[in-house]
């Protein structure tokens, strides 16, 4: 927060980071919801990171004047796209960055509510937890996420109720401090682990999870996705151990 000459506290500048891969069918609706939200301030920058999509995601986002579209030339993974978005937010000098999934799984109102919580409680990394209120969440997703929480706890020692949530708020300190290496979905756990190691204040707040037929089909394929996350977490944990 910056005090203006008149002594008033200036509104913080916020970046909404949306990693997107082949989301042409829903990205317009997601962006409409964000851009029309009443809490969207003048200093809010909407950044879509197009992760090498092969559909019309990039052209749809580029057609919008008030949205920054950062294009990866090749598909790198959700972790890489989020990292690029957060790096852009940092370079733009934003005070807060909100990450939101591009498939419409998150409510925009939840994002701004969590932002208020993060500001009020002075939290460096605030995670929106879908598992604190599981209504509407498919059972397979609940079981899968709980299992990944357990694996994250075993390997990395992190204790959160929803380690895989894509709705997160990072303040300036977190933007400048957190550095993770996973390009895939393992970044969800690794980001929390790196934040914990850096001594950042981490907290959670409940959010709603919107599961449409479209969003259920997206996200990781269950078994293959789980093994990809597991191998990435093991690799980073061993690497962390050898380099401590």
């Amino acid at each position: 927060m910056v005090k203006t000459k008149k002594g008033k506290v200036a509104a913080p500048s916020i970046a909404i980071v949306i990693p997107a891969y082949n989301e042409a069918s829903v990205i317009d609706k997601v962006l409409d919801d964000i851009l029309s939200h009443t809490k969207l301030g003048k200093k809010t920058k909407v950044i879509v990171v197009n992760d090498g999509s092969s559909d019309a995601t990039s052209s749809r986002v580029h057609a919008r004047k008030k949205v920054i579209c950062i294009d990866h030339i090749v598909n790198m993974g959700a972790g890489a796209a989020t990292r690029t978005g957060l790096a852009a937010a940092r370079e733009l000098g934003c005070d807060y960055a909100i990450t939101i999934d591009a498939d419409g799984q998150h409510k925009v109102s939840d994002a701004f509510r969590l932002l208020k919580v993060a500001q009020k409680q002075n939290v460096d990394l605030l995670i929106g937890s879908r598992l604190q209120d599981r209504e509407g969440m498919p059972k397979i997703k609940v079981v899968g996420n709980l299992f990944l929480n357990f694996v994250s706890y075993l390997l990395l020692g992190i204790v959160v109720s929803d380690s895989q949530s894509g709705l997160r708020i990072c303040n300036r300190k977190a933007l400048e401090t957190i550095s993770y290496y996973s390009n895939g979905y393992a970044f969800c756990s690794e980001m929390i682990w790196r934040a914990q190691n850096a001594g950042l204040v981490i907290s959670e707040a409940p959010i709603a999870a919107i599961y449409t037929t479209y969003s259920k089909a997206k996200g990781q394929k269950n078994v293959a996705g789980f093994f990809a996350i597991l191998s990435s977490l093991v690799k980073h944990r061993v690497s962390g151990l050898l380099n401590e």
Binding site: A88, L241, E244
Partner: protein, 124 residues
């Protein structure tokens, strides 16, 4: 020549390489205390295994833990070959990992720099 001595001679270069790398990591501070400690312990165990291969085998045989035949020349070649392959695999894995990190940074930097024009146009 004693086959255990041959085993030692053929495989000691890997151990020496391991200790040298560990020293370099310590000198350049690429690894912390725990990392250095784990590396030293690992290579010490390998070195002791090479030095005491024959007594270890005799112990296992006399206590009936194994009934494998004694080390042959073919075994020495096989073990050395496996160790060499492991050495190559680990080095390649490290290089591929490093390349992946560099490539990711390159894509990220290029993507952000390319979008600077639009950012400057609408916000500055």
């Amino acid at each position: 020549m004693n086959k255990y001595v041959l085993l030692f001679i053929f495989n000691i270069p890997f151990v020496l390489y391991g200790f040298t790398k560990t020293y370099i990591y310590w000198e350049t501070k690429r690894a912390g205390r725990l990392g250095i400690f784990l590396r030293v312990i690992f290579w010490l165990v390998v070195l002791l295994g090479l030095i005491f291969a024959s007594p270890i085998y005799n112990f296992l045989i006399s206590n009936r833990i194994t009934n494998s035949p004694a080390l042959s020349l073919a075994d020495v070649v096989l073990v050395t070959g496996v160790n060499f392959n492991l050495f190559i695999i680990v080095r390649l894995y490290g290089r591929v990992d490093k390349l992946e990190t560099q490539f990711t940074k390159l894509v990220q930097k290029q993507a952000i720099e390319k979008s600077v024009t639009k950012i400057n146009q609408y916000w500055f």
